[in-house]
Subunit: 441 residues, 2 copies
């Protein structure tokens, strides 16, 4: 049986997310990122297109690796200015019924007690449509903003993450029993105190002794996303993630990573790969659009972005010089994926692409290529980055979605229930052998 | 000239906020606090009534002083369960045009870098309708949830607050110059890097070295509320607050506090006092309503609330025993306001009232009493707590607001601009001599 393809929009509360320079296009509306209408319009569009979710990226520092300064990022609006992604969700949730929200939050910096309530609040208010993309950060600029001299070493961040997750599960799953809330007006008892338990944690990094302030949200633990593709990242994903997001270059590389994570995990994991699509009514129409978009692409902005992502200052390289990947502290899997590239190749890939080149063509050509990714690599779907907003998503929804539906590869209506139930057909709570389930009372 | 009265609704992302037990009334809808519709309906209602703002309270720990346990608070839904107030605002903001939002956040626990972006994001997304009620916390239960053994001493919290505010002003006012954003599509320059400055802070409590990630929001610094009425609290308010919220018992006491804060501050400060109103079409109708509501009030829940607010376990007192106010760490001004009370008096005051008894009567009687508060104490307006939701606010808006309007004491339309401009007729930025203005570039 052919598998149904999953689709997320990949976005960020900023102007230049992945495709740098597109905001200079006269039809692009990224400059409206500071208005709620912009995000509500996006959410309604995605729900019209039956997208599974909106995946929101985030970083906590400016990109200052290129030329050792934030200037290029500031000039090109490369993920700066950048707002809090959590603040976008409630307005979008109120305007939609089914769309899921996967929000990136950095556990190294968010106090566990406050963060647990924040995510539980979102899960309540979205009626169980909240997901969390677990990241540990990779930017020295973010660490300095939090008062540290530099980012923690890569493997230490994953040790920290393990402790954090144990604490989150305790707070989300271990405090209030399912039957604790009586809401009994006649007797004047809202909660049965005997079914609410104090959470105590004495860890290496955090201590906590508290009764969770919130009652259990529909999913308790939000849908867990993770994007680490390094050795430690994959071990972490296999233990915690329900969805993984990969940006790993070739189909062969993606297939290897997906296979490895699935082999390590004894439960279903949905894999999403990043993709940039330029679709037209005809092949020529699509190629014309690509050329038109390329005229607005910014090489400097793309290099500022790549330099920060990879921890390498590309202003120091000649065009045909092979790039030396140091160990660094940037996203390790990104560095591994471009081993041996020249700066010229990097520019080609990062300007209207990222780790993969853009998928360009008519609706049937795009559908063919998406299907081949799914069938050849084992991924379940795509995080679609934006080019021109909103036309890139509108044309995808108007042209590609119907073709996928006709081929039986995309749903014709949303499933029932929470985000987890829609994605996995099970839930709303995490089940064994996931570690969250072992903590539940 | 008579002054225009200012009105905020006083609410909290919970079931039992001030008037404990009301959720057991068959017409009360507080149990819907977990839905966005509930909050959007409230925001629309308030905007119909031309309310200046919605003031959202918060605490970060359960109330466990009464009987030394959280049981009474859990049973009676006394500010537990409780969601993140910030998560309510974006959906309400999208559904309204003018309503301001004053949100309580505890600076002792929120990492400055993340909090500064969070508030700036809200100020962007609400188009300049964001306020912050600055609190430093008073609950040991919240401190233990954050990994400390107990709450910091009262005056130490204010030292911490001074450093935090300096850091917030630097981040909100000192990073991006007003002309930094060019948004120049033709030249591909969004931000002029020469007009964006690194913020460096080496304090006793916090260190930070970062370029703010966000561009200036409409108000930069949100409208600043503060509610401390102790000696240190008033000194802090005189320095930082634009609005103060008082719950200080008698008119004489409120007048004294308002006068003292105004004498200390060399700039306009709006003072709000907490009030509970039960209005009817006639005096009898109002008194009947009060009796009906009283049948749903919970003494145990009120005592659980008062015990935590005052830091005194009232389960240990006989009804006619005078209450001994220890120094403690609870809200000091609350303790001072009830010096010499018996437990019996406390119950009378806290059941459908709080520090002040409820204002009960016909629309003209309620308007008379509100005016007498304003005219005799110097306060500018009221934070109206809810009894039965939404009928208490609906009847206030339908009955009392028109009387105040006829008397020329309440606006007939919203003013223009941001929250600050609507409240003060000036802005949208803070002006000298406020310390935020001295940091601006």
């Amino acid at each position: 049986m052919t598998r149904e393809i999953r689709l997320n929009a990949f976005d960020m509360a900023t102007i230049g997310h992945i495709q740098q320079g597109m905001w200079t296009h006269p039809r692009d509306r990224s400059l409206e990122y500071r208005t709620l209408d912009h995000w509500v319009d996006l959410a309604r569009l995605l729900e019209r297109g039956l997208f599974d979710g909106l995946f929101l990226a985030d970083v906590l520092g400016v990109y200052d690796v290129y030329e050792g300064a934030p200037d290029a990022a500031l000039r090109g609006a490369v993920q700066v200015p950048l707002l809090d992604p959590l603040a976008l969700v409630p307005a979008m949730a109120h305007a939609t019924q089914h769309l899921g929200f996967g929000v990136t939050c950095n556990l190294a910096f968010e106090p566990p007690w406050l963060f647990a309530r924040r995510m539980a609040s979102l899960d309540h208010l979205t009626a169980g449509r909240t997901g969390w993309n677990i990241v540990t950060g990779y930017l020295d600029s973010a660490a300095r903003a939090m008062g540290f001299s530099a980012q923690m070493a890569h493997d230490d961040r994953y040790d920290l993450a393990e402790e954090y997750m144990a604490l989150m599960y305790a707070l989300w799953e271990g405090g209030w029993e399912d039957g604790a809330v009586l809401a009994d007006r006649a007797r004047g008892i809202y909660t049965d105190p005997s079914r609410v338990h104090r959470v105590r944690h004495q860890g290496k990094q955090w201590q906590l002794d508290a009764v969770p302030l919130w009652e259990p949200s529909p999913q308790r633990t939000p849908v867990l996303y993770q994007a680490g593709a390094s050795e430690r990242g994959r071990a972490f994903a296999a233990r915690h993630a329900e969805c993984v997001f990969l940006n790993a270059g070739s189909k062969a590389n993606v297939a290897r990573l997906v296979g490895d994570i699935r082999a390590r995990a004894a439960r279903p994991i949905l894999a999403f790969v990043g993709a940039t699509v330029v679709v037209g009514r005809t092949t020529k129409d699509a190629r014309d659009r690509l050329e038109e978009y390329r005229r607005h692409a910014s090489t400097e902005a793309a290099l500022a972005h790549a330099s920060a992502s990879l921890g390498i200052d590309f202003s120091r390289y000649g065009l045909d010089e092979p790039i030396e990947a140091g160990p660094g502290n940037a996203i390790r899997s990104n560095v591994e994926a471009m081993r041996g590239w020249t700066k010229r190749k990097l520019i080609e890939q990062f300007v209207l692409g990222s780790r993969q080149p853009p998928i360009v063509g008519s609706a049937t050509e795009v559908a063919d290529e998406l299907q081949s990714w799914v069938d050849e690599t084992g991924v379940d779907g795509f995080n679609l980055s934006r080019t021109i907003v909103p036309e890139s998503l509108e044309s995808f929804i108007d042209l590609v979605v119907p073709v996928l539906q006709e081929r039986g590869r995309f749903k014709r209506a949303y499933g029932a229930g929470t985000y987890r139930e829609k994605l996995f057909g099970a839930g709303p709570r995490l089940a064994a052998p996931h570690p969250a389930a072992t903590i539940r009372i």
